[in-house]
Structures are given as C-alpha cells and as structure tokens.
Symmetry: C2
C-alpha cells in the first residue's frame, strides 16, 4: 500500500536534477558519495584508488559493452547479447551455436570471438590543464574544438607510444569542463568458453526486451588471451590465457531484497543535462522519424528472412539492433510524454533564467544562453529528414553501398591537407577498419542488400524539393527505375569480394575517381553533400558543445552540489538497493524472477522455447545449491536501483562486499527515458542473478570445471 502513496507523492514533488542514488559516477568521485553510510561493507579505496590494483581493474571494456574478470586465467563474464555477434559469426561456419549454444570442454576447444576487443583499465588521470593549455583563448567554437581534438590526439599518441596493446582515450566531461585520460591494455584475442543456447541466453527475445518480469539467462563466458610475453595481442594459437592482477570473487551468500549493490561498467550516452530545446527536438523530430525508418526496415528484413533460414541468420543481427533501437526510441517517446519532460524542463529553465537574471555577472555571461539553444535547435530541425537519411546511408542502405562509401570517404580524407581532415581520421583507424571488414561481409546477402538499397533510394527520391540529395539525381534520371539501377549495380560491382574491397582502401582519390564500380560512383556522387553535411554537423556540435558547457557551469553555480558527468563510454560506478517497483496503479513488480516463471512463459514458439533439459531439471527440482530459500526456487533475474544505460550491458553487479551477485543486462521499459532523466521510483537495472548463471553452467551444461575455475 505504502508503495502507491510513495509513487503519487514523488510524482507530485518538483524533482530537481539530483536525487538519492542517482548518478553514473566517475571513479574519482567515490569519496563524495558516503557509500559506507549507504551500505557498502568494503573499503571504498578497494573499489578504485589511483595507482593501486582494485576492483575497477577487473572490469572489462568489451567493444561497446562491459564484462568482468572472474578467474586468475582470464575468464570473463558478459551478456549473451554482447557475445551474440561472435556466436553468430561462428554459426555461419556450420554448427548453429546460436540455437544450440557452445561449450568448450577443454582450453583447446575455445573458439575465437573474432572482432572482439577487450580493454582493461590501467590508469585514469585528470589531464584538463594539458588539454586546454593555450587553447582557452580561442573564441571560435569550431576552431577551438578542432584544436582540442588535435591536442587530445597528440597526448593519446604520446601515451600509447607505439605500443599496439595500449589505448589512451581522453574523454571530455561536463561538455569540456574537464578532460580525463583513460589508459587501457588492449586484447584482441578473445575466445568463446560457454555460450548458453539462445533458448536460455535470449529467452523472451525482442518481446521481453526492456521488460520486467524477465527470464533471460543473458550471460556468456569468454576468455581473454595474451601473447606468451604478457602483451595484448591478436589471435594466435601460441597465445596463453591472460593472467589478471585482479579478478572478482563470486558471492556465496544469497542476495535478498533491500541489499546494497553497486555496478561498475561503461555506460554509453546520457543527456541528463539537456535543455528543453534538445528534448523538444528529440520528441518531435528525431524519435518519430527513427521509429518510422527502423520499423520499415525491420518489416522488410522479416519478409526476406522468411525466404530461407540462411537469409534469416544473415538478417538477424541487423534486425536485432534495429528492434532494440526502435523499442528504445518508442519507449523514450512514450516516457517523455508521460512524464511531461518537456514541460518540466521548461519550468526549470524559467527558474534558471530567474537565477541568472538575479545577478549581473551571471546575466552578462549567461543571459542569452537559453535563447541561443533555441536558435540552434530551430535551425537543426529545418532539413532534418534529408540529414537523417544521408547520415545513416552507410548502415541503412545495405552492406556494399556502406563499404563503398567508407572506401571513398577514406580516400577523400587522405587527399586533404592534414589540418582540413576530419579529426577522427587516422591511418590507425583505417587499418583497423580494413581488418574488420570481413566481419561486415558475414551478414551480407545480396537479397537483403538489394532490398535495403531500393528502399533507401525510394525514400530519397520522395524527399521534398528543398531537401533533395542532388548527388543521386543521376540514378533517377539515367535509369528507368530504382529497381533497374539496383539490379545493374549489384550485377556490375566487384565490391562483393572482401579482398577487392580491402584493396580499394589503398587507392588514391584519383584512382577511385576513375573506377567504373557502380557503388564507388554512387559514393563519389554522394561525397560533396556528405562533406558539406559533416562540416555543418561539426560546426553545430562545436557551437552546441560550447553552449552545453556554459549550461552545466551555470547549473553547478545554481545547485551547489556534486554533479556526475553525462555517460560517455568511460568507466562509472552506480549504486542502489535490490528493489521492486510499481509500474502502474495496483501493480507491484517483485525484484526477483524464478525458474518457475521461465516455465510459466513457455509457449513452445520462439522466443519462448524452453530446452527439454531445463524442463527436466525443473520437473525433478534438481536445483543443487542454487535454490534461494526465500523464493523456494532458483532465482533468474533481479532488479536494483542502479543507474545504468546502454554500454553497461555485461557489467558486474556487486554486493556490499564487492562480490559478484549478477550481470547487468537491461533497463526497465517504464524508465526508458532514464537517459534524459533519472526517475528513482521507477528506474531499475535488470540483472541476471549469478546463481542462475551457475545453475545453468553446472546443472544444465554440466560444466563443473568452469565452476572449479571460479573457485566454487
């Protein structure tokens, strides 16, 4: 009963930026959080302290996601959906590991997870002074931003010092108030150890995605390998398991409702300090269009997938992330409206404006700040549809057109004087792109590619006159139809061959300009408008970044308490209790789901197929040590109050003692707008319970030796 009252009361309060337990904190801010008072039962310095080996060193950055070291021999845990790409690629070679799962019975059987890069934090340091030295004086936002980027690259290169297994990343915090260096060791030999079958690891699939109650065993065991001399290295049969300095102990005490927990991981992006103008743009332009476009492509892929199982496997990866994105956008849209985020932001800005106006110095410095935001976003909305399509052409128009554009774009950048190049261009990146090219071809199928390109070209053709993409006019003029062009292009390109595509990356712009390949020609036709667009975007970002920096400055002056920076793929800590929530009137979601619930959801149809072996374990109640006495059942997933977002997938969930109790894998639907605003009453992280991980590993897969390696 009290829960309902609480919900109403909280909604009625005028919530400000920061509330109890909100925040994705930098590891060097932990001292400000009084974690001991909140329930932490370990030394906060053992979570992170500069120069000391601590828990943070056992948290792994795995591609865009997170993972954690759980043994002395480089064993890591992450989500099934994080390992999904590797499993998918391995499955195209014969055995369907997606459906059946994969278990290496010996080290020798561990299969490479090609393309997977694990990075382990070595050091973290404030380098603001070094980055901004001499740059503070530059007034023009674009020039200033470029100078900052260049300076960052210089420092990064200096620190990496030519070592291929060291990554130095300098990240901007609070829109450029601070710059923090993150130094990682980089490992490109990651192997699959145990992947549960999709009917466990992806149980509930897209239907349950973002949803609670959840019954997904969303975990996988991988292993990091290093060169025999202890360096991060590419795959080689000579490599040996990585020997970390620190790994995470598995909790042996049961986790319960109300327990203190924390999560360390690599959250991707949040917009917690955005203005009403940014919210309005997202709500009225960005999300609605993205939902429409993604939805159309998903339907298209679904249709193609029905033609054959091979095509379905090729399409599933793309379909999965589009679905994920679309559901995210839809949830954000609904949530923004439900929470009246726009109205709330507007109200807050009125108060902020009053605060600014109350002081002459502030007024001078920030008086027209909000008006400037308004003007920027108004401009931005004007030709948004054209921009959306052109910017996303590379990944929404098919594999080959995207690759062709990558090749042509690379040559174009190379042809420029160095200081006019796109700051993110570097030969190092080009080399990586070339190496990774083969993974992109793994999901290529001509049927899918053609359908995507046709759709995109028809969309472009239908743009209003003032948003025309002129470079492509030749297609609509020279060919009888879009279909004719697409058929012609795929019949006459050589880019369907990986080696050929890789070779083109070495060509100069002049050489490419002579190419007859229809896709290189199309890329060339799009290049001038793309460059113009890129330049405009860079300028807009620079201007907005400057405005955002000022906005946070004045917010800090106004609110006078600790601020965590927006998520930006850097390592963060968030904490909170194990706790259910009320999604709506008279409904209470308990914080734990159970194996019983897995059975309850079974329909026998994908994604609700339960493996026969699991049913047998349930029937015979063969739960071993993994039954929770309170639940009378094996726990499957749980909720806690932690503040996470995309990128946190695979993050370790710790109990008060810093032991592993779960793996974060999702947020709840009701709090999808969490990237914009943390709602403590309804925002929850969804985690797979470590006991389910171990139950499946031991009882379902019979992999006792993994448990042994974990020290169990």
């Amino acid at each position: 009963m009290k829960r309902i009252v609480l919900f109403v009361v909280v909604l009625l309060l005028n919530l400000q930026f920061l509330r109890a337990d909100e925040g994705m904190w930098l590891l060097n801010q932990l001292d400000q959080l009084n974690l001991k008072d909140k329930g932490l039962q370990m030394d906060v310095n053992d979570i992170y302290s500069p120069g000391k080996i601590s828990l943070a060193n056992a948290v792994v950055n795995l591609g865009g996601a997170s993972a954690e070291l759980v043994s002395a021999e480089g064993l890591i845990l992450t989500n099934h959906h994080v390992a999904f790409g590797a499993v998918q690629r391995a499955s195209t070679r014969g055995t369907d590991y997606l459906t059946n799962g994969f278990l290496a019975k010996t080290r020798d059987e561990e299969l490479p997870a090609p393309g997977y890069v694990a990075r382990i934090l070595l050091e973290m340091k404030d380098v603001t002074d070094r980055v901004l030295k001499g740059i503070d004086g530059i007034d023009d936002p674009l020039k200033r931003q470029r100078a900052v980027k260049k300076r960052i690259e210089q420092i990064e290169e200096e620190i990496e010092n030519g070592r291929s297994d060291i990554d130095a990343d300098i990240a901007s915090m609070y829109s450029g108030q601070k710059y923090i260096l993150f130094k990682y060791q980089r490992f490109e030999d990651v192997r699959m150890v145990f992947i549960p079958p999709r009917s466990i690891g992806n149980y509930g699939g897209d239907i349950d995605n973002w949803m609670w109650p959840r019954h997904t065993g969303d975990f996988s065991f991988l292993r990091i390998y290093m060169s025999p001399d202890g360096k991060g290295a590419k795959y080689s049969p000579e490599n040996i398991p990585f020997k970390p300095k620190r790994w995470i102990k598995i909790a042996r005490e049961p986790l319960s409702e109300g327990d203190f927990t924390f999560i360390i991981g690599f959250p991707g992006r949040t917009n917690r300090y955005s203005t009403s103008y940014a919210v309005s743009f997202a709500q009225n332009y960005y999300y609605p269009l993205a939902v429409k476009e993604f939805g159309e492509i998903i339907n298209l892929l679904d249709e193609i997938g029905k033609e054959s199982p091979q095509l379905a496997i090729k399409a599933v990866g793309t379909s999965k992330w589009l679905n994920n994105g679309m559901k995210n956008y839809q949830g954000n849209l609904e949530g923004m409206k439900r929470l009246n985020l726009l109205g709330e932001k507007q109200k807050q800005e009125q108060e902020l404006q009053k605060f600014i106006n109350s002081d002459n110095d502030l007024k001078k410095k920030y008086g027209d700040l909000l008006a400037k935001f308004e003007s920027e976003y108004r401009k931005s909305a004007q030709t948004f549809e054209r921009r959306f399509l052109l910017e996303r052409f590379n990944y929404l128009a098919g594999t080959i057109p995207g690759i062709a554009r990558g090749i042509y774009g690379t040559a174009s950048e190379r042809a420029k004087p160095e200081d006019e190049r796109n700051p993110s261009f570097s030969e190092k990146n080009v080399k990586r792109t070339i190496q990774r090219l083969k993974y992109r071809y793994m999901s290529y199928a001509p049927e899918i590619d053609k359908a995507l390109l046709k759709r995109m070209l028809l969309r472009i053709k239908a743009l209003p006159e003032d948003q025309r993409i002129k470079g492509l006019d030749y297609i609509f003029k020279d060919f009888a139809s879009v279909d004719e062009f697409v058929d012609y292009a795929y019949a006459n390109t050589k880019l369907t061959d990986v080696a050929y595509a890789q070779s083109l990356y070495e060509k100069s712009l002049d050489e490419l300009n002579k190419s007859d390949d229809p896709f290189i020609k199309m890329a060339r036709a799009l290049q001038p408008e793309t460059e113009k667009l890129n330049k405009e975007r860079e300028e807009r970002r620079a201007v907005l970044n400057e405005l955002e920096k000022q906005y946070i400055e004045v917010l800090m002056a106004w609110k006078k308490r600790p601020f965590y920076p927006d998520a930006n793929r850097t390592i963060r800590l968030t904490y909170g209790k194990v706790s259910g929530y009320s999604p709506r009137d008279a409904v209470w979601y308990e914080p734990f789901t159970t194996l019983h619930g897995v059975m309850e959801k079974e329909t026998g149809k994908f994604p609700f197929i339960v493996p026969e072996k699991l049913k047998e374990l349930y029937r015979t109640r063969d739960y071993g040590q993994w039954v929770d006495q309170n639940l009378g059942d094996v726990p499957v997933a749980f909720l806690n109050e932690c503040d996470i977002t995309g990128g946190n997938s695979g993050s370790p969930v710790f109990n008060a003692k810093g032991e592993l109790v779960g793996i974060a894998f999702d947020g709840n639907w009701e709090a999808l707008t969490g990237d914009w605003k943390f709602e403590p009453v309804i925002q929850r992280a969804i985690n797979v319970d470590i006991r389910y991980v171990l139950f499946i590993t031991e009882k379902f897969a019979g992999a006792d030796y993994i448990l042994k390696e974990l020290g169990i």
Copy 2:
C-alpha cells in the same frame, strides 16, 4: 516473496474438489461453514433463516443479474453494465444517456427501465419429495425428465396461484438429487435514478473487461416501484416506490486488505463437477468454434458501426455481449490449457475409478459410469458445427429471422398434443415474449440484420456434406446468390413491423404455412431439422443429467464432506478476504485501485476518456470523506477471494458486519476457468468500492439527496 512460494507450492499440490473459501453455498447450508471462525461478526441467522426477514431479503434478482436494496424507498444498486440495456433503450429516444449519464433530480424525473424485472426472495424450501414422488420409478431418462418438468410446473403454478407478481421457481440441485423452491415477488416497474456517464461506468470498456487492475465505476442506482396497494406491477404513473422490509446499510468504516467479506447474489452457471469428457469437449469443440464465430460477427458489427453513430448505437449491445462471451471463451481455453485441467480431471477419474472398483456395490452401480460419459461426448462431437449454427440461428443470424423462427416455433408447439410439446412451452411464456418483443426491435437496423443473415447463410452453405442443413437448400438453389436472397427477403417481409410480428404470434400453424413472408417461409424450412435437433438435445441432456447425478453421488460417497451445488441462477453466498494475487512470476496485484490509476490510464480515446469534472476533482484533490487514509487516495475497485460467476454482476459485497462495502462486477482473467474449477490462489472477484460509488454520486454528480436517502 512469500506469495511466490505459496503460488508454487499450491500448484504442486494435488488439489481436490474443495478448498478453503471455495463455494457458492445455498443459504440453507450456511450452518456448515463456521463463518464466525472465519471472521463474520454478525449472527449467521441474520444473513438468512427460514421465515425470518434477513439480509437475503434485500438481495434482488434483476433479470439475469443481481442487485441490492439500499433504502427504505426501493432504491437499488447494481452494475452500470447491468443497467446498460435500459440506458441504451432510453438513449434511442434522443438524449445520449450512455455517453452523458442520467440523473433524476426528483422522483418525477426517474425514467422507466423498460423490460427490467426485479424479483425479491420471499421463501426458499426443499421440495424434493414432492417433485420426485412417484417419478423415482421411471427408468427411461427422457421420460423421467419430462415427468419431473411437468411436476415442477404443476407445483410452481399451484404456488403462484394466479398472482402475476409471484414467481415460483423450482431448481434442481446436484443434477436432480435435490429440488428447491424459490418464491419471489416480481416487480416490472424499475426506474433509472442515477447512471454515471459511460466514461465512468464503463471506463476501460472491453479492453479492461475481465482485467485487473480495474478502474471502472461499474454502478447504477435504480428504483423499484410497486402498485399503490403494495403489489409488484408493470409500469404505471400511479405506482409508488417499493417499501422493502429489509435494506442494506452502507459501511462507514474503511475496508482494508485482509478484511472478511461475503457476497450474496445469483450466480448463473458453473461446471465444477464436470468430467474430463466434458472438459475435452469444451476445449476441443465448443470454445474454439464459439470464439471463431463470435469474433467474425464482432468484426462485422464494428465495420457497420463505422458507417454512422445511429448504427453504432444499435450494434453496441450485441457487440458488447458477444465480446464478453468471446473473451470469456478465450480465457477459459487459455486457462484450461495452462492449468492442465483435462489432465487433472483424468487423473482424478482414475482415482475415482479405483475407489469405485474397490467396493462391489459401488462397482455394480457406478462401474461403467465414466465409460458412458465418454460415449455420450463422442457422439456429441460428431456433427457439432451444424448443431452450433442451427441452435444459434435465432440470435446470430439477425433480429428478424430470429423473431420469425420464434413465431413459427410457437405455432408448431401449439399444434402438438400437449404431452409432446417442449416442456418449456407455456402460454404464459408466449405472452411475455410478445410483450417483450418491442425491446428486441430497439436494436434492429436493416444494415446490421442483412449483414448478419448473409454471413450465417454463407457459413451454412459452406458446411460439409454430412452436416448439411437441408431445409435451406432452396435458398442456394432458387436464388442466384445469398446476397440476392437476403435483399429479396428484407424487401418483401412485413416482420420489420412490431405490431405485425406480435399479431403473428396469434396465428395457427396452418395460417402461418400459408404466409408469403420470406422469413416465415425460412423458419418453416428450418423447422423439421430444428425439431429433430431439439429432440436429440433433450434426450442427450436427460441421459447426461442422469449420469451427472450418479457422478456427484459417487463423489460425495468418496469425499465425505459438504458439497455446494453448481450455480444455477439461484441465490447463493460466497465469502473470502480482501486480497491481492500474483498473476505471474514476480508480479503482485494489490487489492485496491485508486483514482490516481484512473488518471494514469487516460488516453483521451474511448474507452479511456476521463470526464473533465473528474479530472478537476483529482487535480484539486476534492475527495471529501471518500479518501482512504492507507491509500492516500479514493479507492475505485477492490479484489476479494469470493467465488462468483456471471449472474453475480451487481451483487452486494458485505463486510463482516453485513454492511455494504462494494458491488461485485467481474472476475479476473487468470481465473476465467473458475466456472470449471476454483483456484484459490488466483481466483478473485472484482468489485467497485462503495466509497467510489459515493464519491462519484456526491462529488461528481452532486446528488447529495441520494446520499441522504442512503442515510449518509
């Protein structure tokens, strides 16, 4: 947490027929229930005792539903959906009371609810001996059944003794083990006092129907009138408000979770003692076909309703009950499968068979009982589709064809020797049918009727050869198409005129056989097969009834504890605590919903439109005395563990002291199979909280004088 454990444990137990709180008890069984121990705080004899005025006398049978007397001047409360038909009929005359609601500011303004019949219990008595005297010796089930029916009619007529306001109903209990007489006073002048707008009384509409959490203010105030000399009478301006001997006091103490409650009402039908063969027939034949047919008709009506608001109003009543039925069947189907009802029944029958076989006398009497059931249901399934369509022709093929068949069927019965007639035929019933005919025409519209008839004829045309309805062959032979026949029939019938239809009820079979009316001709064409079908059904029912009687006999011998009879539209009591439930793993439904939840569900689109006035009351928190301190809000609906079914709609919900705390209006979706099997862990009654009724009456409608009449 404990809730989940409980759920699992209960599912794992092998549940038998009777568990705590199960049962729709006859009022003369209350002594067996130890209600005081369970929480009742009043004398059980004040609920019901023969010859004494008690609570039971304040419970009203209202058509097929229930209601309760709440004032000394005949004011009754029932559900909005029970009053729906009256409101709909009143709305066809101009003002749209469905949408706007209706409030009589004075007695004079109270509008007749034509067709509504209220009956108040005068007496209840076991008459088994009288009914069965001399009949017990008849062996043939059909002959026996006819003899029983005739005997019942004789006794009923004798008791009614020509008084038009007395109804005597003798009901068979335990498939004919017992016969109980219910004597009612009958009132045909019922008037509308306060009907909330549909946006309150039907908030959530068909979407929320059967669902929890529920936010429907499903109540209406009506008033019973009597003749100035105190008799039940038809509507007359001379009539005066009924002065009951007993009415129900409104509870003034707040209702809370865990409180003891009970419900008295008129549950319709249950099949608690049915065999696995009946379950199998329902699961594999009856429900699937009914869902398909109803679904098709609902879609058809939806399409027609889009053509005009007038057509939509005409269609809404039919659409509503079809939807209600369809959702019920679907829920039953799903639930039967989920609970594995079939498997459970089969297992129980194996045990029962063992029990029977263990004793020679039992074996002799009941040894082949289950085999006989099997044989009956196998036969029944053979031409089920044909039977379904022919039996439901009268109400699924349109108003006029149904009326024509009623007319022809009446004449056919009249033409027979008295002892060959259908036992339910009587001139008294014919007279009532004629009087009520006008109400059937209120939902008649040619567009709807034609579409329904076309659909039905096409269905019949498509039946397999061995299920042909031969009587209609002439339509498919003589007319170029079904469309042509239907257009011809409606262009040439006079039955669209009520008076004409009424006049045909007086005609003899010979006269009707000479009629040119296309619908009378169609009725005549269907009659031979219908009579054959009716005869077969009567025989099948007689045989099954005999088997069912034996089945309950042997169950009683086996289980040795009190049995309540299946629901059969007679007055019953059920009790249980106010309590939430877990619909699925990790989800808990609280037992109360609130006004906040009403607002939360608002979409602005039907059926989730909230009246502006109600929003204002919410905004200003103008809740008066109706706020619940625990909830911090106005309660809207609540759950209790009572065992109810269709027919209980409108039943009073009492607290431990016998005061009114709510009005039952629905059961929950998860327990739709409740008619087959009571599941204590998930079966709940859904009730509108009396405080919401009074809040809406006082604060929304400003009808303080109603509160005054209630003694508040």
